[in-house]
Symmetry: C2
Subunit: 210 residues, 2 copies
DNA sequence: GACCTATCTGACTGACCGTCAGATTTTTGT
DNA sequence: ACAAAAATCTGACGGTCAGTCAGATAGGTC
């Protein structure tokens, strides 16, 4: 029964409690999106579901624990993206495949950006649980990307001064950050489509060397 | 007298107060680095300089205002980097110039990473003051980068599907993120030098098309 | 030394965190 | 159908921090 849902103190909980916990998680995600992590308060989360702070602490030891769970859920949604990153992008279809990945990544990002931002902040500030989750999520993508880079380096299309894993990290960074910058860049005339095209082109170039 | 130092209520302050305000800013930067923005408390800042919370509020309306000031100071340190980004990187010296920029950027990042992270978070969460500061800082770099990309596109070394400004944003994103990931990547075997080389190679490639 | 002004802080209010004992709802047993 | 047991929920509380303000203290001027 390793996938039983647990309360904060570790005991297995029943159907009603699972539903309450779920509503708490959803409210947390909602408020994280609306207000950001800095203004996220337990009172607000519980008020949102018409409950009281004490209820929250039945299921989570603190807000971090709830956000961590949301981050794990986001990781699940990231897994399908890996199938879009197989070595063998060629001159014919490679750019189109890059577009597919970028599109899928955009949807993923739009859905989870608030949680992912929170996860990254916590990870960068040294929280080891969030580091672990971020690392796990990034490894999924980065291993696939690194394999593509390695292929390009072996075929001499990419310079061997590129460390595959670091390049993969750079690609993930570009994706995450361009999407995060998006609202700001829109104001400067770079619309969603320019971002999409540029990102796909950069990916295609950095990963294949074509 | 536009560069007089002001208290929270806008009045001009004297030498002693300037010194106190400075100590508050330094303590804020220190605690931001040590504990991160989520655990940054005014009590701690004032305790650190042997003072009381009331003193803090003499000079800043809230913690954000102090962080914003630190972010503006960081921007000043970023300005010299622009001179390292002039169009004309060629096959002979271009990669070396990219290395110079990466090195300078690494120093800049190491000095200000906690403040820059806080700035970016606030900006991404929609705070317009922090957006303005981040935009100003990024524009410095991005305009220079975009000019280089435009040169590469005009010379047909880069595909015209690249939007110069978006590409510039991607490059900044790579720099910021790779440095932020650094401690984590180190554990996976990519050392500082691999990051440095990879970043320089990617920059050189993305900016010049060589 | 008396006065004036700039600077600092003790003490307070209000809000949130996290806990716990007890109230309420659901399930179980007969 | 009812009572007892278990699961779930919450009111109320102690502690901490944000932010305010009136008054204390320090520094300068004559």
């Amino acid at each position: 029964m390793t996938d039983d849902v647990l309360a904060a103190d570790g005991r297995v909980i029943g159907a009603r409690a699972i539903a309450t916990r779920r509503r708490l998680l959803d409210a947390t995600a909602k408020l994280l999106t609306e207000q950001g992590i800095l203004d996220l308060r337990v009172v607000d989360i519980t008020r949102d579901i018409g409950s009281s702070p004490a209820t929250f602490y039945q299921y989570f030891n603190d807000v971090d624990e709830a956000i961590l769970e949301l981050a794990k859920e986001a990781t699940e949604d990231e897994k399908p993206l890996v199938s879009l990153l197989q070595p063998g992008w060629n001159k014919k279809t490679g750019l189109e495949q890059a577009h597919h990945f970028v599109d899928a990544y955009m949807v993923f990002w739009d859905t989870h950006h608030a949680v992912l931002r929170a996860r990254n902040l916590k990870a960068e500030e040294g929280n080891r649980h969030f580091r672990a989750v971020r690392t796990e999520a990034n490894l999924l993508i980065m291993n696939a990307l690194a394999a593509m880079v390695t292929e390009g380096v072996n075929a001499k299309r990419l310079p061997d001064s590129l460390d595959p894993f670091t390049t993969a990290a750079a690609v993930v960074a570009m994706c995450e950050r361009l999407l995060a910058f998006q609202p700001e860049m829109a104001k400067r005339g770079s619309d969603k489509n320019a971002i999409r095209n540029t990102l796909a082109t950069l990916l295609y170039g950095a990963l294949t060397g074509h």
